[in-house]
């Protein structure tokens, strides 16, 4: 009856209990709700930021135009924190999806843990502690993503954040170049260190400015549309700016909110000037 000898030591690795797997999957779906909450928070603060900019530039705000640095900083800090949270949640979401797939795969290949299969599990040894691997994967993913884009680049994709952050410079002088321009973009239209506030097609001040994603040149919506109207759809036309090699089409244009802000400041200043002259 030698066969009756039973090894009573538990294996180092045992399969995940299905309850745990279910909990993990629930956590993953809850994550969508959290992401929605964070997005709502971003939208809220953005709306406050926009309202604040509108107030600063409205006629209710008596000349000379000024910002409250504390208000501005509070808005910027809040917005940045929410954006960073959203970014991290998205990193986690990606990892969690991979982890789910790994867990399911593992479960499919594992026999149920019984007295008969226990020896098999003992053979796995410590190697199969894949939960640890999932944690490592998450850390790796996070690091990789952070290398791809710094947090500054992430927050700069949010228009309201960029507007708020640059409000002070633009208020000083609507044609001031922005501190980030010098670092990231070589191609901004700078004349004598100033940004041109005139559309290169009409030479008039910008109306509804749009920017080409390809070459970062800015135009008034109506004039660039008129220019591109003669082109065959997707192919587009040469950028109207001399020396620019880009071919642009309607799809390459998006509203330029920074230029729009510059124009608002310019007009606010114009109104102030007229008020002063009247007095």
């Amino acid at each position: 009856m030698a066969n009756l000898h039973i090894n009573a030591n538990l294996p180092l690795y045992i399969p995940l209990h299905h309850e745990l797997v279910r909990e993990f999957e629930t956590a993953d779906s809850n994550h969508l709700l959290v992401l929605q909450e964070v997005q709502n928070a971003i939208d809220d603060v953005s709306a406050q930021g926009k309202a604040y900019i509108d107030f600063v530039l409205s006629d209710d705000n008596r000349a000379p135009v000024q910002v409250n640095q504390d208000t501005l900083n509070t808005l910027l800090t809040a917005l940045r924190q929410h954006i960073v949270s959203k970014y991290e949640l998205e990193c986690w979401k990606q990892s969690a999806h991979q982890a789910r797939a790994r867990i399911r795969n593992q479960q499919r290949n594992e026999p149920e843990l019984t007295v008969e299969t226990m020896d098999l599990y003992r053979e796995y040894g410590e190697k199969r502690q894949f939960a640890d691997e999932i944690i490592h994967d998450y850390q790796d993913d996070k690091e990789l993503k952070q290398q791809e884009r710094t947090m500054d680049q992430v927050v700069n994709t949010y228009d309201t954040y960029v507007q708020l952050r640059n409000l002070v410079y633009i208020l000083q002088d609507p044609s001031n170049p922005l501190p980030t321009d010098a670092d990231n973009e070589d191609d901004v239209a700078v004349a004598g260190g100033k940004i041109s506030l005139r559309d290169p097609l009409s030479l008039d001040y910008y109306e509804e400015p749009v920017i080409s994603r390809k070459c970062m040149h800015v135009f008034s919506r109506a004039t660039i549309h008129q220019y591109l109207a003669g082109s065959s759809g997707r192919l587009g036309k040469n950028c109207p700016v001399d020396g620019c090699e880009a071919t642009i089409s309607f799809n390459d244009l998006k509203p330029d909110l920074i230029m729009a802000l510059r124009m608002k400041v310019l007009r606010k200043r114009g109104r102030e000037q007229r008020n002063i002259e009247r007095i």
Binding site: R198, L201, S202, G230, P240, D242, G243
Partner: protein, 157 residues
């Protein structure tokens, strides 16, 4: 208002505010006395120290309806002596050619400066008239004599 008209009004405003020394440019008067912004008369001074110096060469600039998508046409008086000027007086210059280097952002100021530059730096690869081009490539003495004679006819002061 059409893009062409807006643009030409802005060009006029900016020219009046600031333009390069020695140049002039103004829209022609229509028969009814109003300004015709699509037809301009301008004067190109020859660069000091060149064969073209001390003279102001008259040009007409005609803006098409599609301007600034299409370039304006620039003409010297017919028979103007220059390798890159057609017998009709039309200037052959890459920045004035829609198929070549014309871009809508090129301003009137850039155009007249480009024409000034062309005067003393002809492009031997795009001949537009026989006499000046031949002389320029084969008989520089005759070429310079003819250019000086022409400059005298348009002399300033």
């Amino acid at each position: 208002m059409s893009l062409c008209k807006t643009r030409l009004q802005e060009e006029r405003k900016q020219w009046r505010k600031d333009h390069p020394f020695g140049f002039y440019a103004k829209p022609n008067k229509a028969p009814d006395g109003s300004l015709d912004l699509t037809q301009w008369t301008a004067g190109i001074p020859g660069r000091p120290g060149t064969l073209w110096a001390d003279a102001s060469f008259p040009i007409t600039i005609t803006f098409p309806e599609e301007y600034p998508s299409k370039p304006p046409k620039v003409k010297f008086p017919s028979g103007f002596y220059h390798p890159n000027v057609y017998p009709s007086g039309t200037v052959c210059l890459s920045i004035l050619n829609e198929e070549q280097d014309w871009r809508p952002a090129i301003t009137l100021k850039q155009i007249v400066m480009g024409v000034q530059e062309l005067l003393d730096s002809p492009n031997p690869d795009s001949p537009a008239q026989e006499p000046a081009w031949k002389a320029y490539s084969k008989d520089r003495v005759t070429y310079e004599k003819k250019v000086r004679e022409q400059a005298k006819r348009y002399a300033t002061g």
